[in-house]
């Protein structure tokens, strides 16, 4: 059964020229985005980048000042109920009623939807079968988050909006949630997820938009974005009471780019085995004592640093 108005040809989500201001602050500053059906799409960015504002406008919980948002081909103005029936959401800060049990909570949410999945099936899908008669108040953070997903899943949505679903969870709970989201995608549902964890975006998303100051500053598959760094590896180091010359660093073999972030030096490197010996030789010559040296393959975090000069966690 398909919702009445949804046109299969239309993208799952189409945002054109979205602007949202709060007084003097522009939270979303002209954002364009298209998400295809069946895609898992990530909005990656630091806190305050405008991710939540964007996603809440898509959910119909907030209103745009300018621009247009089409969800499954529909606008909130014309088809608010159809959109609500076709999407499943998890908000960042929702606390479900502690006095109700897992089963009662899922039943309650199920009763709101015209199209629904069986409560048992949904509880099993989020692996809360053993907790079905437990009060919500007694669940762990990870279990509460999975229950929140169950409340979204029980309406059999075509499109999920998940706002930072794993923030504050331990690594094991995050992994469980990732498995769940991967399964949503395998079932052919579209997932739009916001996160400030680069590993989450790399792991889950087909495409990622990096958002900063209310704008998309890069868009592509995680692989394409990492390619923006220009090289596959990153060498980072810190010196004790000495400074290195950026030009000399840039001239070292295999180095494609040099950046100093606070007291850290960051080299984008194509050939680590060539760069490291030369770097150590140069540092011995200054002379400088190495406080810390790390090499890793480039991640979306490096892309963000590359593009903004800041770390994701800095906010």
């Amino acid at each position: 059964m398909k919702p009445l108005v949804s046109k299969d040809a239309s993208p799952a989500l189409a945002i054109v020229g979205l602007i949202k201001r709060y007084g003097d602050v522009t939270a979303v500053a002209g954002l364009d985005l298209t998400v295809s059906r069946g895609e898992c799409f990530g909005l990656l960015g630091p806190n305050g980048a405008g991710k939540t504002t964007t996603i809440e406008i898509c959910e119909g919980l907030n209103e745009a000042d300018e621009g247009e948002v089409r969800v499954l081909g529909m606008t909130h103005r014309e088809h608010p109920d159809e959109i609500r029936a076709a999407i499943g959401i998890s908000l960042q800060e929702t606390q479900l009623t502690e006095k109700l049990t897992v089963e009662e909570t899922v039943q309650l949410f199920q009763s709101f939807y015209p199209r629904r999945r069986p409560v048992d099936e949904v509880i099993a899908a989020v692996q809360l079968g053993e907790k079905r008669h437990a009060r919500v108040g007694s669940l762990s953070g990870g279990q509460k988050q999975r229950l929140a997903l169950a409340c979204a899943l029980v309406g059999d949505p075509e499109l999920f909006f998940l706002d930072e679903p794993t923030t504050g969870l331990d690594p094991q709970s995050r992994r469980q949630l990732w498995e769940l989201i991967t399964r949503f995608k395998a079932e052919g549902r579209t997932v739009v997820i916001t996160t400030h964890y680069m590993d989450e975006a790399e792991q889950l998303c087909d495409r990622v938009a990096i958002v900063d100051h209310g704008k998309i500053i890069a868009l592509g598959t995680p692989r394409e974005l990492i390619a923006l760094v220009g090289s596959e590896h990153v060498v980072e180091f810190r010196l004790e009471s000495a400074t290195a010359d950026l030009q000399t660093l840039g001239a070292l073999p295999g180095v494609t780019r040099v950046k100093a972030v606070d007291d850290r030096y960051q080299l984008d490197v194509s050939q680590v085995h060539q760069t490291i010996p030369a770097l150590l030789e140069y540092l011995t010559g200054i002379p400088a004592t190495l406080a810390d040296l790390v090499t890793h393959t480039a991640t979306l975090e490096d892309v963000f640093v590359h593009l903004t000069g800041r770390h994701l966690r800095d906010g």
């Binding site: 907030n62 609500r84 908000l91 929702t94 479900l96 109700l100 009662e104 949410f109």
Partner: protein
């Protein structure tokens, strides 16, 4: 179009069930709604219960003629007679331990010593004097008989129970709706709900349905307690009483919803809630009659929803009033209901 779903799977049923579960899984809410009013009624009922007519303490000064007087007076059950030495009797009179001192003077003469500003002393003097005069052969020309009337309905407890009922309706309706709504707004649960296809009207309706069901229990226990334990009369019909409780509960529910329409924290709502309830606790005649307030204030006092509920409940329980007698309080409650709901829905903050 018939909904093919099982009735239990309907949103309004699930929402109302959630309201019940939130309530009965909160032992404190149960206590304040059901147990506390009964404890209060019991406590106040005991404190202000009607005592049997008091006996008056009278001292007879010890002397040769005292014996005959004592014998004459002890026959009267309204008197508690003690034989005391003169000095002791005088001291007892001074400290209020006796109402009257009777001292036989020579022959048939008797002296009464008492403070004529103390009502019980004046009563004691009359009773003692009658007893002594009749004991010595006085004939009363008029034949009298006493018919005692101790009617339930005129005692303090009869006044109190309807007042407590009204106060309880106000508190539980306003808090029951206001607290949960504000708490769910604070927890962003309202926001989560409005992102689903849930009907907002059904969400609000679930509060009223749950409230009305709890109302039956709440009113039932307090009225039954009053009738069985204190013999408070229920002269009007249960139907009239139910309608007033229902309308009162809805009006207070509307007021609670209005107060809960905007605040984002429970603390802010508590302040507003007390601000709305305090004047009614004082002015609306819960513990004492609202007629005690000056005439200039009466229009204000009468317009309060708790005054309307209390006046109507007292009229039904104590005077057996029917709908025809309750036009004013019922109109006042309806006005509160309509105004509060209309404004509350207009300004309600869902996010």
């Amino acid at each position: 179009m018939a909904d093919p779903r099982h009735w239990r799977e309907r949103a309004i049923v699930q929402l109302t069930l959630a309201r019940f579960r939130e309530f009965y899984r909160e032992p404190e809410a149960m206590f304040w709604t059901f147990i506390f009013p009964i404890i209060m009624a019991a406590g106040l009922g005991l404190a202000f219960r009607n005592k049997p007519p008091e006996t008056l303490k009278v001292a007879v000064v010890r002397n040769a003629a005292a014996g005959a007087i004592v014998t004459g007076l002890t026959r009267d059950r309204q008197l508690d007679v003690q034989l005391l030495d003169d000095s002791v009797a005088t001291r007892y009179l001074r400290t209020g331990k006796v109402a009257l001192v009777v001292a036989a003077k020579g022959g048939a003469a008797v002296e009464y010593r008492f403070d004529d500003t103390r009502p019980e002393s004046i009563s004691a003097r009359r009773i003692v004097d009658d007893a002594l005069q009749r004991g010595n052969g006085r004939q009363d020309p008029v034949v009298t008989a006493d018919a005692l009337v101790r009617e339930p309905g005129s005692r303090y407890i009869d006044f109190l129970i309807p007042g407590l009922l009204g106060m309880n309706l106000m508190a539980s309706s306003m808090w029951g709706i206001g607290f949960t709504v504000v708490d769910q707004r604070r927890k962003k649960l309202l926001k989560r709900f409005v992102a689903t296809p849930m009907s907002r009207a059904e969400y609000l309706l679930s509060f009223l349905l749950a409230r009305l069901t709890l109302l039956v229990v709440e009113v039932g226990t307090l009225v039954t307690f009053g009738v069985l334990v204190f013999g408070v009369p229920l002269r009007g019909s249960v139907a009239t009483l139910s309608v007033v409780c229902l309308l009162g509960s809805l009006a207070f529910g509307g007021l609670g919803l209005l107060i809960a329409a905007r605040p984002k924290t429970v603390e802010a709502a508590s302040g507003l809630m007390n601000f709305a309830m305090l004047p009614m606790w004082v002015l609306s005649g819960v513990f004492f009659s609202s007629a005690n307030f000056p005439d200039a204030m009466q229009p204000l006092v009468k317009a309060l929803p708790l005054t309307a509920v209390n006046d109507a409940l007292r009229a039904i329980m104590l005077e057996g009033a029917g709908f025809a007698d309750l036009g004013l309080p019922l109109s006042i409650l309806t006005a509160w209901l309509v105004i509060c709901f209309t404004v509350a829905l207009r300004i309600f903050r869902w996010r």
